[in-house]
Symmetry: C2
Subunit: 272 residues, 2 copies
DNA sequence: TTCCGACGGAATTTCGAAAATTTGACACTC
DNA sequence: GAGTGTCAAATTTTCGAAATTCCGTCGGAA
């Protein structure tokens, strides 16, 4: 039950062969949303995305719909799509569930994980450390790289939990947690204390001390959220332009419709 | 935080206006998969679906991708889609998490729910009872109707839990749980004991007895799963044609490729 | 002025056909 | 007979354009 696959979200390695354009676009779009390349609440026009990713209408829409289901994008009737908003309230919700579910996953993995699991964890941890030591990279690239391996490390720890659904929930929550973090905290900011936390979790896990590992993990998760929250409150506020919106597409006219345009019902032909 | 929306999955009422064809197709396809109109593991050809739902390529694919994310459909590289398999192992997993998460949701709702929540629950329960009393319907239709209202009743109970993510998780799990149930148990089988369980849960919830309600709910969930499991083990086994596969499309040739056809890598142009 | 409906540009949704890929079959060699 | 390469049909993926819908604006009536 280990080779559980849902999306290719958390795979760092060689990845599935026979990728379709849709899958590729999905991965890129998801990464761009999580990394903050698009602003929260921003309208995403398929025309822009087509230019940005150099693909046709179908892959774009197919990817968008999958992201809707993941909660990163919202679909507005026949009014297109927009990036999900960021609300502090939701960050609290996500953090609570991350603490509950990821700790549970870790406990189970420690209880039942075999040598292969240990090997995966050790390998992922090693990669993370190496990436942290790396210097001289473009900040954006460095952030992306670190986040990828950070995610992979956490996921490797849970990978032996034995419950596909738990793993899936963790996957979703981690993704969203990362988005909040990256929206509020500017890089580079891989503080050594975070690295130390990882080390401690890793040690406890390998020593098969489930309770200690879970405690450390919970602290780690809440710590990250607190940090984000602290930064958030000292800022314009959620939804109001966190991070820079890098790699944004050209200076298009954008025409954001008036925020809450009067929504009077009209006559309609179809779908009567 | 109550008006949380993800998919239109669990809405019974008036539903969002301005439906697009994709949304409609998504709802229909989801319902058909959950209800067992498609067999588990079956390949779904877009050509068939186009004929079945009378729409073009795009709505079909867009709906399919959303269902992939929900776990009801799996996407096979460039080899199309197939309905997710049913494995007893997974039913156990789903049941465990349903018990944990739905009970938690119910507890929270009881703790913080207001009058409006009570009203929603009472209304949903009333509808469920009325539907159960109804007679003289086509069995298929009756099953669909009952399931819709059963789902809505459970969801109404949780709707005041205050956590969007918890609600979303419950939504997904309920959906999958229903699929297993309907795959293994043939209708009509709305035993009076189930109705009694609902009544008891409802009473405890309205009396704000969180612990009792949660206990009853857990029993209810496990009871349903046990029933399904009992039927499953006395059958060909999961994945091997449970339920009837009603409303199946025309007697097409179906051409199921040999289960594990030798998968030798070929030369490829794109995505090199 | 304010409300209402129609008009037209912009964006989204949907379709159908072209391009690419998979799959099974057939012939050929070893 | 087993293994291998080629070919054509079936299927999926992708594109681009047509159809539909939305949204702001303008003009006219109360």
């Amino acid at each position: 039950m280990n080779n559980f696959e849902w999306g290719p979200t958390l795979r760092v390695g060689p990845a599935k062969a026979h990728k379709t354009l849709t899958e590729e676009t999905l991965a890129r779009l998801r990464r761009d949303i999580v990394s903050g390349a698009f602003e929260a609440g921003q309208k995403v026009k398929s025309e822009d995305l087509k230019k940005r990713y150099q693909v046709g209408t179908s892959p774009i829409r197919e990817a968008l719909f999958q992201l809707v289901s993941e909660g990163l994008v919202r679909s507005d009737g026949q009014r297109g799509f927009r990036v999900a908003e960021l609300r502090q309230e939701e960050l609290l919700d996500i953090t609570d569930w991350r603490a509950r579910l990821e700790c549970e996953a870790l406990r189970r993995a420690i209880a039942t994980g075999d040598m292969e699991w240990e090997a995966r964890a050790v390998a992922a941890f090693h990669r993370l450390k190496r990436v942290e030591g790396q210097s001289g990279l473009d900040p954006t690239e460095a952030a992306d790289l670190w986040e990828d391996h950070h995610r992979a490390f956490h996921f490797a720890l849970y990978s032996a939990c034995g419950s596909p659904w738990l793993l899936r929930f963790c996957e979703l929550l981690i993704q969203h947690g990362e988005r909040y973090r990256r929206a509020y905290i500017t890089y580079p900011r891989i503080s050594s204390s975070i690295a130390a936390e990882h080390q401690a979790i890793m040690d406890a896990a390998m020593a098969r001390d489930a309770e200690k590992a879970a405690d450390l993990l919970e602290t780690h998760i809440r710590h990250a959220a607190d940090l984000a929250l602290a930064h958030a409150t000292g800022r314009p506020g959620p939804g109001a332009s966190p991070a820079k919106a890098r790699r944004a597409s050209g200076p298009k006219s954008e025409r954001e419709p008036t925020q809450e345009a009067a929504r009077k019902p009209r006559t309609r032909q179809r779908n009567a």
